[in-house]
């Protein structure tokens, strides 16, 4: 960012909660069915139909709220947000307004600025204040292409109408696009971790919008904010924010004024374009939804939900650093998803924490990432990775051989011992066998032996080399060293 300037960024995330049925009716939330097939009088907005709240949506909303450090409110109120759009059959969206489901979140994330190549410079903790997380229903889908005469018509599919959403709104706490980027990724992982949402932006079950303004450093007043939409991936969002910050600074420095407007990110042109000006502020005429009673929960229930949740990524990262003595970077890496964290713990239990960490991080993860596999789909089980680490620790194979063994295990799905045996890799550690080789080598090189005993100790390396050669590299070097020292000394 240009010197002397500061950006102020707030984010809104909509996450689809992972329910089987819609939030106010029993229609399926399945994706990809025939258009308008999963509809009923409630989600079509037919007169006389009444909404009934899906309790699972409330439970998942509570999980999401707790995972993001929000307070779940014991009473919240559904409200109608009124506006006209063809994908909104009732003419209003059931949402929450002045009494949201949860509020006052404090979330600690880790963030880092990135260099030109996109690599993190230095990770640091960062606190985000989350204003609220509330429950609401999704609208339907407008189809503008792929059907006849879309120059004249739009088509409406209401399968998605009534899908449960959690809307998550932050305070304007971000100062750089990378802070926003790291926050959205943190939220995605947390929601997936606790099973509240699939949180997949490609599938559209996580969507985000950013409010961006700039001001001169030291200025307390916020500048005019621009709302950014069409951010179809976390990376697009980061690029859009970056572009927008530069655009606004240039505009102000050249004597212009930032207009309050909504802009869309155009990935192809790598720029934001104005969508519509926001001069006439919307009047949504929010009022309490008379068809739904205030939503009451209590402290016991909130505690039950909390106890039923898996250990959160942050807590697990901290535990990994303490229990397994992992570095911050390794612990963060292994807790990036649930399956990987489980994998590491099982591999560590089957070998040792340090060895399991090195082999998982250095070797197996590279294979998994290259194959596009998650840890729970790994052809090498955590127990077999542990067996490989033990084989190296015990000196049965060298670390260098271990790398080849792992590649073979990954390719064939065979266990560590089997691959070691099949490839004839096992190191010879049997002292008797090595002793025989040592004796033969000494007998075959009487001249060098005499020189060594006369004081030319640099020849030690020569003998080691001869023994290793005779054993075809399989002799355990430690045992060779010990035996050689002993035999060379003896007269």
């Amino acid at each position: 960012m240009k010197k002397g300037w500061e950006a102020v960024i707030g984010l809104e995330i909509h996450a689809q909660l992972s329910t089987e049925s819609k939030i106010f009716c029993g229609c399926s939330t399945r994706f990809g069915d025939e258009p308008n097939s999963n509809t009923c009088p409630v989600c079509l907005g037919l007169p006389g139909s009444l909404p009934v709240l899906n309790w699972r949506a409330v439970e998942l909303g509570a999980r999401a709220a707790l995972a993001l450090g929000l307070r779940v409110n014991e009473v919240s109120i559904f409200a109608r947000k009124n506006y006209f759009y063809p994908d909104l059959p009732k003419g209003y969206q059931i949402s929450q307004y002045d009494r949201p489901f949860s509020s006052d979140g404090h979330l600690e994330i880790v963030t880092a600025e990135r260099d030109e190549g996109g690599h993190a410079r230095e990770w640091r903790p960062f606190e985000v204040r989350i204003t609220r997380l509330h429950l609401e229903e999704d609208a339907g889908k407008n189809v503008h292409e792929g059907l006849p005469r879309t120059d004249l018509y739009s088509y409406i599919d209401l399968n998605r109408a009534g899908t449960p959403l959690a809307e998550i709104v932050t305070e304007p706490d971000f100062r750089t696009s990378w802070e926003a980027y790291d926050y959205v990724n943190h939220v995605r992982r947390a929601l997936q971790w606790v099973g509240a949402s699939e949180a997949d932006m490609e599938k559209g079950n996580l969507r985000c919008e950013a409010n961006v303004s700039v001001r001169r450093v030291g200025e307390e007043k916020f500048g005019t904010k621009v709302e950014l939409k069409n951010l179809n991936s976390v990376r697009f969002m980061q690029r859009a924010i970056e572009f927008e910050i530069e655009r606004q600074i240039e505009l102000i420095e050249s004597g212009g004024r930032v207009a309050q407007e909504t802009r869309l990110w155009d990935e192809r042109e790598a720029c934001t374009r104005v969508m519509r000006s926001k001069e006439e502020a919307h009047d949504y005429r929010y009022f309490p939804e008379p068809d739904l009673q205030p939503l009451a929960v209590n402290a016991d229930w909130i505690e039950q939900v909390r106890r039923a949740m898996p250990e959160l990524p942050d807590a697990r990262r901290k535990r990994f650093m303490g229990q397994y003595r992992l570095s911050f970077d390794d612990a963060s890496l292994f807790t990036r998803d649930h399956a990987l964290a489980d994998f590491y713990e099982r591999a560590a239990a089957a070998s040792n924490p340090r060895g399991a960490a090195n082999w998982l991080k250095g070797e197996l993860l590279r294979e998994l990432d290259a194959a596009g596999l998650a840890a729970d789909a790994s052809p090498v089980s955590p127990e077999e990775l542990g067996a490989l680490v033990r084989a190296i620790d015990e000196g049965r194979i060298s670390g260098k051989q271990g790398k080849d063994v792992l590649v073979e295990m990954f390719r064939t799905g065979k266990g560590a011992s089997q691959v070691i045996e099949e490839q004839g890799l096992a190191q010879v550690s049997d002292a008797a066998e090595i002793e025989k080789i040592v004796t033969d080598v000494l007998a075959a090189n009487p001249q060098q032996l005499a020189s060594y005993r006369a004081g030319k100790e640099a020849l030690f390396g020569f003998f080691v080399g001869q023994v290793m050669k005779a054993s075809k590299g399989k002799a355990n070097p430690k045992v060779v060293n010990e035996l050689l020292k002993e035999k060379l000394k003896a007269e």
């Binding site: 509809t39 709240l53 063809p86 407008n142 503008h144 018509y153 739009s154 599919d157 009673q293 229930w301």
Partner: protein
């Protein structure tokens, strides 16, 4: 609160209704009298009435205002579209709105 003609005009705009000046003069007093009628409710003393809540009871039982997360049969495409004024290709069809689905005004 007295209802004025400008209130009626604003409500009509928000509701996307076109009304003539003549209708405005008729509607303003009518709406005003309806509001005054409903306002009689304010005279009731509700200070000792517990609000009706859904979700959980104070004892932690789920109330009948909630349902299990189970999908049940929907109407299906044919029935859903049967009463629509202009169905086409399995969809509700309307005059073209904005250029792309991202450009919708709301979520």
């Amino acid at each position: 609160m007295p209802i004025t003609e400008s209130d009626i005009k604003k409500i009509a705009d928000l509701a996307h209704l076109e009304i003539t000046d003549e209708e405005l003069r008729t509607l303003a007093p009518q709406v005003a009298s309806i509001v005054a009628y409903v306002e009689q409710l304010k005279e009731l003393d509700t200070s000792r009435v517990e609000p009706a809540t859904g979700g959980l009871t104070p004892e932690g039982e789920r109330t009948a205002a909630t349902r299990e997360d189970r999908a049940r049969d929907s109407l299906g495409q044919a029935l859903a579209l049967e009463q629509a004024p202009d169905p086409a290709h399995g969809h509700f069809r309307v005059p073209r709105v904005l250029a792309s689905s991202e450009e919708k005004e709301n979520f």
